[in-house]
Symmetry: C2
Subunit: 409 residues, 2 copies
């Protein structure tokens, strides 16, 4: 498996475009619409927010992913989330698919829709329609097409997030590329994590769906910037088969080769989202090892990575192990506090902070040195079993509060 | 039922003291030890942290409350939490009880112990021992005794928190008074909510325990400053019977009179804790009405009151209803988003923000006016039933981050 350049247009047969349609208020230059198109029809898999308040495009995509075996395109806008917009919002979402289908000369049930931005506002359909037409004439199979799309889905993200890998299935080279946006909320009504992963692998819908469902547990579901699960969260995985590998229809070697590449793409995107979380100065990774089960490890890791007190301590480069032990303790996962060891890790080194639930003999200065890097890891060894899990988040900063306390005026 | 002056020494037969033993580092004047003593033996009830990581005094008190029917005193220190301190910490906790028992000439199993402060550090037993001796000779039945105790348990609290009520049972005047401290963490390892409620009511241990267990659900368990459940949380309720009312042994009128007073004390203390949360500029109250069950209402209210995004918006005086609807949505409690109405309330007035899950026609200026008070309430009407619940929290501020990011050096 090799890392290659580009993002969603790296796989064979995918084109993309991103441009400004004028949906984002204020900013005069920010792109706000993206389109991804596959020459060949795709089997599609998706995972969506568990929030009971679901945005219109989430409801639309859940239906399309479920019912269609020939998805051709994804149309996405940033600036308005089309969430809490009632029947009218649902109609507008369908209109987005219709206009996209007309311009691309395909059917609306072959179109997936995604929106991110202000909750409660209706989409400016005139701008959306105009944007879709411009996008279709700007579709581009080069890396630049994918890059423009990655720029167009950004909200408070400070950097575009895209990645691609290639791997071999027999003599066939298979490619997989993805892009995503983080939970940006600089405009106090914005929320959403969107992920789009395209691949030219030839695979059955059943296995594509299972591969995504399984990998999400270890990647996107292990990310938390502020514990607020949005109304729009969506991850879409499209496979158009143009790599022409023998179709993957069972969990053979080929399947696991693909899963490995899918995981590499998802993990990269997740770490990018966490490290670029609102106001973040550092990526905070929590590794729980020695757990009784993978589920237990995941619950413990997420409890620590979402602890406001721990996140604030990471911002302060403070080896505040008491808060980590405290967060493990209220996670509801059962363990023996008197067994726990805790380490801090970063480029600057590794240090044992806690041994058997009590302070280890360590230097605060050395700990602060390790915690001053822009990627820090807390390793919690439960010493109860062989299972592990990793969660990604970021520190809690003054900037986070500033971003989210701002008036919408 | 009448509000009366004072706190834990308002009920008959209770004495208290608070002073500086030198446990809190740096500060030269902060009191850090408190003692409460009852002339007559008390029946005691207690509720304790659900965190699996339990401080030594929590383990001690759980045992005493369970096994003793003649509790005489509470000894408390701030500055060191005696949490994550292993066997030695457990021994020190027992020593605190022993020294207190000796100086008061009672038995150690009649003593309840509470600590709050740095996690992982051992108690300075020389200072503790000296402090206990001073406290015993300073015990005072006047309001000042209770007030000194309320001051001595403070950490980052900006104000002491005490309250007292009296009510009648037949011709007998019964008094109940309490004090508490909030979850202070200015020293980055500190955490704890401590509550002490004393009453001279004559009641059986069974009913005292049930009264506390039931009321906690609507009061202390509905408070959240930052979602981090500490290792030391403790609420103790002692009744010495000196009001000489006919002993309450069944759920009669007298019992419910007492429960009413207990609730008044607990609710007051909870609102004080929330409004005085770390860095808080406002008390944020969330009322969920029209829910199917009380349990559902409580889950929904707590989800909103703990949402970082909502708390930051409250800090910004921003009517950010999308975040409230979002927090209701990920609470796991089932409801119909298309029915929800949301109002903001404060001294400045009341405004409907959301109607049937969508933006109501309201003025942002008016909303900001209402949200600019130091006590603001969000009312969420689920329109699904008759049940309701209220949760208390505070806004998320720059000061909260500053407090909790500080180096411990």
């Amino acid at each position: 498996m090799d890392k290659i350049n580009g993002g969603v247009t790296a796989p064979k047969g995918f084109q993309a475009a991103g441009l400004r349609a004028g949906i984002k208020e204020g900013s005069t230059d920010k792109k706000d619409m993206a389109m991804i198109y596959s020459e060949a029809p795709c089997v599609a898999a998706g995972t969506f927010t568990t929030n009971q308040v679901k945005a219109a495009p989430v409801k639309w995509d859940m239906h399309i992913v479920d019912s269609s075996n020939a998805v051709h395109a994804v149309i996405c806008n940033s600036g308005v989330a089309n969430a809490c917009t009632g029947q009218k919002g649902m109609q507008y979402c369908e209109n987005m698919a219709e206009v996209t289908a007309d311009t691309l000369n395909i059917e609306k049930k072959q179109i997936l829709v995604a929106s991110t931005g202000v909750i409660g506002a209706q989409l400016p359909m005139d701008k959306i329609t105009e944007g879709i037409k411009m996008l279709s004439s700007n579709l581009n199979a080069d890396l630049s097409g994918g890059h423009d799309a990655a720029l167009a889905i950004m909200t408070t993200d400070t950097v575009p997030k895209e990645i691609a890998y290639s791997f071999k299935i027999g003599d066939h080279t298979v490619r997989i590329g993805g892009m995503c946006k983080g939970s940006g909320m600089i405009h106090p009504n914005m929320c959403t994590m969107l992920g789009f992963v395209m691949t030219d692998v030839n695979i059955s819908k059943e296995l594509l769906t299972e591969a995504l469902k399984e990998d999400i547990k270890d990647t996107f579901n292990m990310v938390s910037v502020d514990g607020d699960t949005s109304t729009n969260d969506t991850v879409l995985l499209l496979a158009n088969g143009m790599a022409e590998n023998p179709k993957i229809t069972e969990k053979n070697e080929d399947y696991y080769e693909f899963v490995k590449a899918l995981h590499a793409v998802n993990e990269f995107l997740c770490k990018k989202i966490a490290g670029d979380g609102e106001g973040a100065t550092a990526l905070f990774e929590v590794k729980v090892i020695g757990a009784k089960s993978k589920e237990q490890a995941a619950v413990l890791a997420k409890s620590v990575v979402t602890s406001s007190l721990t996140k604030a301590a990471i911002y302060g480069h403070d080896a505040n192990w008491g808060r980590i032990l405290c967060a493990l303790g209220y996670s509801k996962a059962e363990f023996n506090p008197d067994l726990v060891d805790i380490y801090f890790e970063s480029k600057a080194g590794r240090l044992k902070i806690v041994e058997n639930g009590m302070a280890a003999d360590y230097s605060e200065e050395r700990a602060t040195e390790i915690l001053s890097e822009d990627e820090v890891t807390a390793v919690c060894d439960m010493k109860m079993g062989e299972c592990s899990a990793t969660a990604w988040g970021c520190d809690l900063t003054h900037e986070y509060v500033s971003i989210n306390a701002d008036y919408r005026s």
